[in-house]
């Protein structure tokens, strides 16, 4: 709404301008045009400012609005009384005019002028009446005709001058030549005054005429009487009569007053307009002056406010180095001082905050660094780590624990450990529960966990209680290690030691036993009466001794497994050897592969594994059950597959198949698959039971290239 004030004031000003616009026939002079020009300029300025206010979208210069409001307010405050004074003054002038030009004054002046004019008319009439008596005067006509002497003519002129009371009397002929003249007092000039137009007209028309003349001595009435002879005008009598000075002065005063009055009346409208414009001019001058003073005052008042607003704007934008000059001791000065104090405190606080922020950033960086190191450590650690908070929820778990325990996908941070530890992971939950409820700070347990792929993993779980006193966190740290290989290695080592001792203690007596049995058979067979029983017994001794010798040999092999002698071997050659070896079995199908397939391995050991697998397949399946041997190749691996369509292997046997001394065959040592597995591992490969039945499928997977070659 405030934005429309300048436009409203401009409209009012334009309306007033139209009202006082000088009329074409008015006589207001240049003042009227100055006024309308000033008002137009003011209205245009207001219009321009108002339009700018309406169009303005951006934030104006600080303090400008306040300054404009102050000026507009001050001018507006003066405008109302000024307009009232203007109207009152105009009314007063109108009333004054009515009084000045009252009809009574008008009538009075008319009558006064009529009196003055009547006096003149009276004089003229008297003079004309007197002159009419001399138009046909014989003496004068005779004098004009040249029939009288100059002295007689002069004497006659003196006589009639004195008789009529004239001051001067002159006689002229038709040629305007002065024939004689008399006057009161001395002659004013030697040369006669030439006849005027009125005198010539009088002669030409033959009529008495009068006129007024103003001379050095005052006004005189001049009369002309044509002298008519017998038939025509023959001359002219000119007489002068001095008008009474006092009366004439009064008459002229009346005339002057009348003229002035009429002139004033004639200019009545112009006078009123002039007065109005003078008042208006003064009003405008006062308004302009007030506006100027208001502007100076407002500028002086708003300059500190503008500076303050500008400084606040800069502070808002973050510039706290703003300092304002304290120019005055008034409220504004106090405001400026408070502002400076505020910015100083803000600077201080901002500095402290910035320092704190820097410290925090450094601490955060360090913390992140530590966290990164910890995460890297945990990620690269082969030991599984579980961090559980006081409420039993997992806060942290690394990839190693997922790999060791084959954790399902629901094991994420914030999962409840006890709820998640179901099924095969029950032992983990039990371990946590025991740690949680025991008095000791630490706990260590070993247990087996069956994995989803039916494998058992032997883990070492260690737990520690984390106290809140050291940090804000309280909970439990569980460290889980897969010690399956370690346990197996220990077990293998123990069995190797047993095998070595057995080989040492049992192998030596076996040979003499066998030799003794063979000797008995050769030497005493003829002496016994029941050869059949004798042969059976000795043969049994020899067979069992040989069995024990093979057993001891297997033990020795397991205990002293040689390091594989790696070389480049054709895969197809090994397959062909198997084909040759088992060619007696028609149910065995060997599929050869590309001759180019090569493998870095010890061919003797690989051959031993393949023979073991084929032998197991043959012995575990009935006749007519087909057995297949084939190879496959990938970028990094070479695989030999042995499949049979036999009855398969039950789950319990499958889980212990690769354990030493575990065998389903009555005569088996239980070391075949254990040795085969050992050979595969020595080659950095693996021996897998791919499927337990339909078909029963074993796979020997070995790397294509030797480990030192970087394959």
């Amino acid at each position: 709404m405030m934005r429309l004030v300048p436009l409203f004031m401009a409209a009012v000003l334009i309306f007033v301008t139209v009202l006082v616009w000088p009329s074409a026939d008015g006589d207001v002079g240049i003042l009227g045009w100055i006024n309308v020009t000033v008002m137009l300029v003011l209205s245009l300025l207001l219009l321009r400012y108002g339009m700018r206010l309406l169009r303005e979208r951006t934030e104006p210069k600080p303090g400008s609005r306040l300054r404009a409001k102050l000026v507009v307010g001050l001018v507006g405050l003066l405008l109302v009384p000024a307009m009232v004074i203007q109207l009152a003054a105009s009314q007063m002038v109108e009333r004054g005019m009515d009084v000045w030009f009252d009809v009574r004054v008008d009538t009075l002046l008319d009558r006064a002028l009529n009196l003055a004019q009547g006096f003149y008319e009276r004089l003229e009439k008297d003079m004309k009446r007197s002159l009419l008596g001399y138009i046909s005067d014989g003496v004068l006509v005779a004098a004009v005709g040249g029939n009288m002497e100059y002295l007689a003519t002069t004497a006659y002129l003196t006589e009639i001058r004195e008789r009529e009371g004239w001051q001067k009397a002159e006689l002229f002929d038709l040629n305007e030549r002065q024939l004689g003249g008399v006057q009161v007092g001395e002659l004013s000039a030697l040369e006669p005054e030439p006849l005027s137009d009125a005198a010539r007209l009088s002669m030409r028309l033959g009529r008495v005429a009068t006129e007024l003349k103003t001379g050095a001595d005052g006004e005189v009435a001049v009369g002309y009487a044509p002298l008519i002879g017998t038939t025509s005008v023959v001359g002219l009598l000119r007489v002068e009569m001095k008008l009474p000075a006092g009366v004439i002065q009064n008459a002229r005063s009346v005339e002057s007053d009348y003229r002035n009055y009429r002139q004033l009346e004639h200019n009545r409208q112009a006078i009123a307009q002039t007065f109005t414009h003078v008042i208006l001019f003064v009003t405008l001058a006062v308004l302009l002056l007030a506006g100027l003073i208001g502007l100076l005052f407002a500028r002086r008042l708003t300059a500190p406010i503008g500076d303050l607003a500008h400084a606040l704007h800069r502070v808002t934008e973050g510039d706290l180095d703003v300092v304002l000059d304290e120019m005055s001791q008034d409220e504004l000065g106090s405001l400026v001082r408070s502002f400076n104090e505020m910015t100083s405190r803000l600077r201080h606080h901002a500095g402290a905050i910035e320092q704190g922020q820097q410290d925090l950033t450094k601490a955060l960086d360090k913390s992140r660094q530590r966290q990164f190191v910890l995460e890297s450590l945990l990620a690269n650690l082969h030991t599984g780590v579980l961090l559980v908070d006081g409420s039993g929820r997992v806060r942290l778990l690394n990839q190693a624990v997922r790999d060791i325990l084959h954790l399902p996908v629901n094991w994420v941070p914030s999962v409840d450990l006890l709820q998640a530890s179901q099924g095969n992971l029950q032992d983990i939950g039990d371990f946590y529960n025991e740690l949680k409820h025991q008095q000791e700070e630490h706990l260590q347990r070993e247990f087996d966990i069956s994995l989803p792929d039916s494998r058992l993993v032997h883990v070492l779980a260690r737990g520690a209680r984390l106290n809140a006193s050291a940090s804000d966190f309280s909970g439990y740290l569980l460290v889980i290690d897969d010690i399956s290989e370690l346990a197996e290695a220990q077990r293998n080592k123990a069995w190797a030691e047993v095998a070595r001792r057995l080989a040492h203690e049992i192998k030596n007596p076996l040979t003499p036993i066998k030799l003794s049995a063979e000797r008995l058979q050769r030497r005493f067979r003829a002496q016994v009466d029941n050869h059949q029983v004798f042969d059976a017994c000795t043969q049994a001794i020899i067979a069992q001794v040989e069995r024990l010798q093979r057993l001891i040999a297997d033990f020795s092999t397991l205990a002293r497994m040689p390091q594989p002698k790696i070389r480049d071997v054709s895969v197809n050659v090994l397959l062909r050897e198997m084909k040759d070896l088992f060619h007696g079995y028609r149910r065995i199908e060997v599929r050869f592969c590309d001759e180019q397939w090569r493998c870095a391995c010890d061919p003797d050991q690989v051959r031993q594994v393949l023979i073991n697998l084929m032998d197991n397949a043959v012995s575990a399946s009935d006749d007519g059950v087909s057995i297949r041997l084939y190879a496959s190749l990938s970028d990094a691996w070479v695989e030999w597959h042995v499949e049979d369509d036999g009855d398969g292997i039950d789950e319990a046997a499958a889980s212990r198949l690769f354990e030493a001394y575990y065998s389903t065959k009555a005569s088996g040592s239980g070391l075949g698959l254990a040795i085969a597995k050992r050979i595969a591992e020595d080659h950095h490969g693996e021996l897998l039971l791919v499927s337990t039945a339909a078909p029963t499928h074993f796979c020997l997977r070995l790397p294509r290239y030797a480990a030192e070659e970087g394959a």
């Binding site: 074409a24 002079g29 137009l40 339009m51 007024l212």
Partner: protein, 183 residues
């Protein structure tokens, strides 16, 4: 609205436009008549005021002095440029009434000749009419070129007061123009 944005320049242009608008408003008033006549030697004009004659008659009747100032200008008309001024003559005629004798003193300031008349119509005609007034010598004009005669008349009631702006501000009550070409 561009002039509103261009600040003072726009304001001044508007003021100039307003003044141009004002000037014809003062001058437009059934000015009168103007006739140009050229004899063998002199170019003359006959000009007569229109409605202003009545105001003059009223003033003279009331004994108020009246005067008319006649500015007579002759210029060669140019199509694409300002007209070329050739002659500029000012004639001032005054009438001083004498109410006591009911006569009017006619004064021609240019020639210094005065005359007293006893008829108001003669006085009014003296102020409101220029009859066969010689303006300039014919030899100054080219018979093939077009010319324009402009007569501006200022009517004064009362004594002529020479103000400082009189030379700048001419409150002309009548402007008459006539284009002519010498035969």
């Amino acid at each position: 609205m561009y002039w509103m944005r261009s600040g003072w320049v726009g304001t001044l242009l508007l003021m100039a436009g307003l003044l141009l608008f004002v000037r014809p408003a003062v001058a437009a008033d059934e000015a009168g008549s103007l006739q140009v006549r050229a004899d063998e030697q002199v170019v003359q004009c006959t000009a007569e005021l229109g409605t202003q004659s009545k105001a003059i008659a009223m003033a003279l009747k009331d004994g108020i002095d009246a005067a008319t100032t006649w500015h007579i200008q002759v210029a060669r008309v140019r199509e694409y440029w300002l007209n070329d001024g050739i002659a500029d003559i000012t004639v001032i005629r005054r009438v001083e009434p004498d109410l006591l004798s009911r006569s009017w003193q006619l004064v021609d300031d240019a020639s210094g000749i005065s005359q007293r008349v006893y008829n108001l119509d003669d006085a009014v005609r003296f102020l409101s009419r220029l009859e066969l007034f010689p303006v300039l010598d014919r030899s100054l004009l080219d018979s093939t070129m077009p010319y324009r005669m402009t007569v501006k008349v200022e009517v004064h009631h009362g004594e002529i007061k020479a103000a400082w702006w009189s030379s700048i501000w001419h409150p002309a009550q009548a402007i008459m123009q006539q284009d002519f070409k010498l035969q």
